[in-house]
Symmetry: C2
Subunit: 403 residues, 2 copies
């Protein structure tokens, strides 16, 4: 259902056709002009005109022909994946990450810059510095900048409405970057970026209905429904980490108490493991870390894998709360494909199995649909995936690959 649409002008039609043909080459290439015409319902002449323009622009190339049984074999055209590059940033971590990617989301160059507690204008300056350090490494014309940012993003207004950790409120970062670098810039929520990376580059390419849940230092979700990103117009869609799941629970960095992040984020898990280490002098954690303060999420994962019973119980509790949240999420959106990412997924398949069990216990939708709860396909390096998703957003806007 869409709420009304006007008839296209000629310029809009031309732009639409260009995007349509490029999308066909991107998704289906190598492909013949005739096949593009068949699939798009465009005339052969229109397709040829558009392809000639794309070849002139260097975005598409002819790559020889396909052997056929009779007649002149059709020439195939293919995407030139390095015809343009994109700068993409992940601003969701203690280190800002930046990279140059090609049109297939392949990372060409990567840089990082520690945030070291910078906030406000200082943090914006860091973003500029990071981009400047990447610019000399771009060996193809740059299409623009994609930014995966934490917090509440207004996708329509290209605005960071609220990123508490960075002290940003109603920051028009896209506009700022465009002014400074003369490049298009698009902002997307970091968790939603993970989703878009799956959709354009991952194993779940073109899966129109899926959910990504990130469980790391923070917890957040991205939802794709009918191929549409549920971005909430800057109202905080996907901010599932800050729903209270423990009444009068631990204080949360959001100002609330007992939020999901206070029991299931990597930060919360580490804190609970440290308490275990302090209380139990025979805990297996002591062999893995020199002192309770030195315990990291990796330490806890090791203790879990070694079978430490207290840590097993801790992870079971984490699985319960994550299962509860995913149960609520699925009851709202109904879709059965849930992809997990973030440091807490380091507990691996046992955690996933426990979450699956909880979801099936906790919701009818979960029982009926047997939801597929799996790891995000690109998340072996989450920062890479966020940058790929940020690049995907930019590609969507500039080339119409899916937005």
């Amino acid at each position: 259902m869409h709420t009304g649409t006007g008839k296209a002008t000629h310029a809009q039609t031309r732009r639409h056709n260009n995007r349509l043909v490029l999308k066909m080459v991107y998704d289906q290439g190598p492909i013949s002009r005739a096949e593009i015409a068949r699939s798009t319902n465009l005339t052969a002449t229109t397709v040829s005109t558009v392809i000639s323009k794309l070849i002139a622009d260097g975005l598409v190339e002819e790559i020889g022909s396909l052997a056929t049984e009779r007649g002149k074999p059709p020439t195939l055209v293919s995407l030139v994946k390095d015809a343009r590059h994109v700068i993409a940033l992940d601003l969701s971590r203690h280190e800002f990450q930046g990279a140059i990617l090609n049109l297939r989301g392949e990372i060409q160059q990567r840089q990082s810059l520690p945030v070291a507690g910078s906030t406000g204008d200082e943090a914006v300056t860091l973003v500029l510095t990071l981009i400047e350090s990447l610019l000399p490494h771009a060996h193809s014309p740059l299409l623009g900048i994609g930014i995966g940012a934490p917090g509440i993003i207004d996708l329509n207004h290209n605005l960071i409405r609220r990123a508490a950790n960075l002290g940003w409120e109603n920051l028009a970062l896209g506009e700022k970057l465009t002014e400074h670098f003369g490049l298009q810039a698009q902002i997307v929520n970091d968790n939603q970026a993970v989703l878009l990376a799956e959709f354009l580059f991952g194993n779940y390419k073109h899966t129109a209905d899926m959910v990504v849940v990130r469980i790391g230092n923070g917890i957040g979700a991205g939802v794709l429904a009918n191929g549409q990103l549920l971005h909430g117009n800057g109202t905080g869609a996907g901010e599932i980490g800050h729903v209270v799941v423990v009444k009068d629970g631990e204080p949360c960095r959001c100002g609330g108490h007992g939020c999901l992040e206070t029991v299931a984020s990597s930060r919360a898990i580490v804190k609970q493991a440290q308490a275990i280490a302090r209380q139990n002098h025979t805990s297996s954690l002591h062999a893995l870390a020199p002192a309770p303060e030195a315990i990291t999420i990796q330490t806890v994962i090791q203790a879990f894998q070694a079978g430490d019973p207290e840590i097993q119980a801790l992870v079971a509790k984490v699985a319960y709360y994550l299962g509860l949240m995913i149960a609520h999420l699925l009851a709202v959106v109904g879709m059965p494909r849930v992809l997990l990412c973030g440091s807490v997924t380091g507990f691996g398949e046992p955690l996933l199995a426990a979450i699956r069990h909880e979801v099936a216990q906790l919701t009818l939708v979960g029982r009926i649909n047997e939801p597929h709860i799996a790891m995000a396909s690109l998340a072996t390096d989450l920062s890479n995936q966020i940058m790929m998703g940020a690049a995907a957003t930019l590609l969507a806007h500039e080339l119409g690959l899916f937005l």
Copy 2:
């Protein structure tokens, strides 16, 4: 973001233009042809051709002209709201409800039929009987049948995947009705119908982002995001009544334990009030009902309004659980407009205020956005609203009014 679209054929273009012009007349009429051309970017000739066809079909009429300062005053065209009628059903209650509605969703005639425990084919026969009883009252050509049905609906396949109370599983009711009556038939989930009624006929006309939550015998939600119904492709989107909110709680009719419906549905509230009446011989309930078994949701609402402290505490608990669920819902979809309907909303503004308070306590998104939690605008008779929404779905399909 949409996942690819082909170029339109001429027939598709014509159909699209027809729908576009009709939608303009529907939404903006009385309106001049020139204004339609300006708003749609269609040529004046195309608009005139389409309007002539719509006038010939009886859907649109000329209604005189608008006085202008200079030049020939343009003739205005307007929708003929009784040009077509629609049969709409609400199958979500103990009595199946049916009505004939016009193009503005105004109810012309209403019939009902007690279900009396019928399930399976017997219940299907009741549906046929109900429609047959309505047919003689249709005084305009019928566009088709819209059905608001409980349970999990596959909108794309026009299928009732699962309506437990009626014993229906994978029932192609739309197809069955089309075969039987030679009329188009469209099925939509009952709660989603409430949402669509608001969108096409209610106070929240054209509000592209909103949530409807129905709290009656059952609890369910409908979500409209960017003007798109989140229908979940038959996976049970909006089945929020069957998420466990009380660990090891009361058994639920879905087979689970401690679902939201076991604490916050009208059924659950009545059950708890009955227990109060049985335990407390000075309860104000005794003055309102001859025996605990005679207590209904209306009795409980009366006791609440009279200030009964035990019932006040009961409603506070209900508000907590509803607030918790809405908090989870808003954290996923982020949108701030929530409309409530169903018998439990009979507790009125105090319940709404308590829910608002809980949502603000229970989620960051709730604190940031100050969600508008209000009554659905048409829900003084919920069955009417469901039938209006079912009619809206049919109108969307047949006339392209918004789908």
